[in-house]
């Protein structure tokens, strides 16, 4: 079976909608995940009583269960008890729930990566705990965590492909749906792969440049 350009061309408008949706959901999910992750890692860094234990539990539960099961839970199981969100909302909440812990780990890893001598030096010139965090640990830790954050961003975008199981018409769902209706798997899967490449290749190049910039800014190498 060859590839029909005509089939591809006809499908492009539908795929475009899927692509836009994928981008939107990813964007909101990633921003949410970064905010949640930052808050969680701060709670952990400052060892805020009670909250930091809660954060630990959240991080473990979120990191050690599949997004697909998390989504099934949100979408199919929660409404049984009266919590109902629409599919897009479920998707975003799921992505933030999952991504928040990944981002938190990324930030925490960066903060912990700041060398002990830097922290001690900060103390030695009389910085308070807050000042130490503000002027030493966060700027350097953030630079150290950028590679992990970048990897998480790519990871989360790819995870949106799982939204197909809760009927969100993003890229993957679009392809599977078209295949079910018109049976042109070759063409639709090709467009699908290209669709992800269009999002992810430029993004990953951008992130690599950003990593280098930030690293240079903070450490000069």
């Amino acid at each position: 079976m060859g590839i029909s350009w005509q089939v591809i061309q006809q499908s492009l408008p539908v795929f475009e909608k899927g692509l836009v949706l994928t981008l939107w959901l990813s964007l909101i999910g990633i921003i949410g995940a970064i905010i949640v992750g930052l808050v969680c890692s701060l709670l952990q860094y400052f060892k805020v009583p009670v909250l930091h234990q809660i954060v630990s539990v959240y991080v473990e539960v979120s990191r050690n269960t599949p997004l697909l099961v998390q989504l099934f839970f949100l979408y199919y199981a929660f409404p049984v008890f009266g919590f109902k969100m629409n599919a897009e909302m479920c998707g975003i909440v799921g992505l933030i729930f999952l991504g928040g812990s990944y981002m938190a780990e990324g930030f925490t890893g960066g903060f912990n990566g700041v060398s002990k001598t830097q922290v001690e030096t900060g103390k030695a010139i009389g910085l308070t705990r807050g000042q130490l965090a503000r002027y030493v640990v966060f700027p350097q830790g953030f630079a150290l965590s950028v590679p992990a954050l970048a990897a998480n961003i790519i990871f989360l975008i790819k995870e949106t492909s799982i939204f197909t199981v809760i009927a969100i018409p993003e890229l993957t769902n679009t392809a599977l749906d078209l295949i079910g209706m018109y049976y042109r798997s070759n063409e639709y899967l090709l467009v699908l792969v290209v669709g992800y490449a269009i999002i992810l290749i430029p993004l990953s190049i951008l992130l690599t440049i950003l990593e280098k910039r930030v690293r240079y800014g903070a450490f000069g190498n």
């Binding site: 030695a124 000042q131 030493v136 630079a143």
Partner: protein, 248 residues
């Protein structure tokens, strides 16, 4: 040793890491303007002791008295005290994300709430003294090891401390860089009359600046001897052997 002007006294200090007992019943004082060299073989506890004096390590027993007041070892107290007790480490420990000037101003401006102008004036005076005024807007990565270490000293001095602690500040420098750094400390001791405790492996340097030597082994002070005398005629055999091993 006149009690009157003791700036820091240490009494019955004991320190363990988990099971390892590394400091045993340490007792000594340092008077205003005095320079104490802390010598001893590797692993004898010099760094640990000096870090205890700055609150970077917790100790299990004993009391520190600073300017006549007993130190209650809380994080908050230490944070205050560290403005009076400056410290410079072996590693070139400048903050890589800040310029030389910002490294120096961080303490005076943020901790001591001096105005930036005032602090900058002091900083520039100090930078002139160490001959690095022209680098004030450079980043640490643009400096050599010796230059970084001199800036680190300026950064500690900018807080106008009453006591300075130096822990092997030349140990990671190229041999040719060592002299510049030691010269600054020597000037500080001799011209500015700074009170200081210096850990070093440079015996010639120690001989030149030390009013008194504390010789440590296995976490105990084996002898406390005036500088000159220690190098000419140490009281213990162990110190003698140590001095011999230090020159090839």
């Amino acid at each position: 040793m006149q009690m009157a002007e003791q700036i820091l006294s240490v009494a019955h200090l004991e320190k363990s890491y988990q099971k390892r007992h590394v400091l045993h019943d340490i007792n000594f004082s340092i008077a205003k303007g005095e320079v104490v060299a802390l010598l001893g073989p590797s692993g004898s506890g010099k760094s640990t002791l000096i870090r205890c004096l700055n609150g970077l390590e917790e100790y299990q027993q004993g009391t520190l008295t600073f300017n006549g007041e007993e130190v209650t070892p809380t994080e908050k107290n230490w944070q205050q005290l560290r403005q009076k007790i400056g410290m410079v480490f072996q590693s070139y420990d400048l903050f890589p994300n800040l310029t030389v000037l910002d490294n120096i101003l961080l303490g005076p401006v943020k901790v001591q709430h001096q105005s930036r102008e005032e602090a900058k004036a002091t900083a520039e005076k100090l930078l002139d003294q160490v001959g690095l005024r022209e680098y004030e807007n450079s980043y640490p990565r643009q400096l050599s090891g010796g230059q970084k270490q001199r800036i680190a000293i300026v950064r500690a001095l900018a807080l106008n401390p009453e006591l300075m602690l130096f822990d092997e500040v030349t140990a990671s420098l190229d041999p040719e860089m060592v002299r510049g750094v030691l010269n600054i400390i020597t000037e500080l001791a001799q011209d500015s009359n700074m009170t200081m405790i210096v850990v070093t492996h440079e015996m010639n340097f120690a001989k030149q600046i030390a009013d008194r030597v504390l010789f440590l082994e296995d976490g105990k002070i084996l002898e406390q001897t005036p500088g000159k005398q220690f190098f000419e005629d140490p009281q213990t055999d162990r110190a003698k052997a140590f001095l011999e091993s230090m020159d090839f």
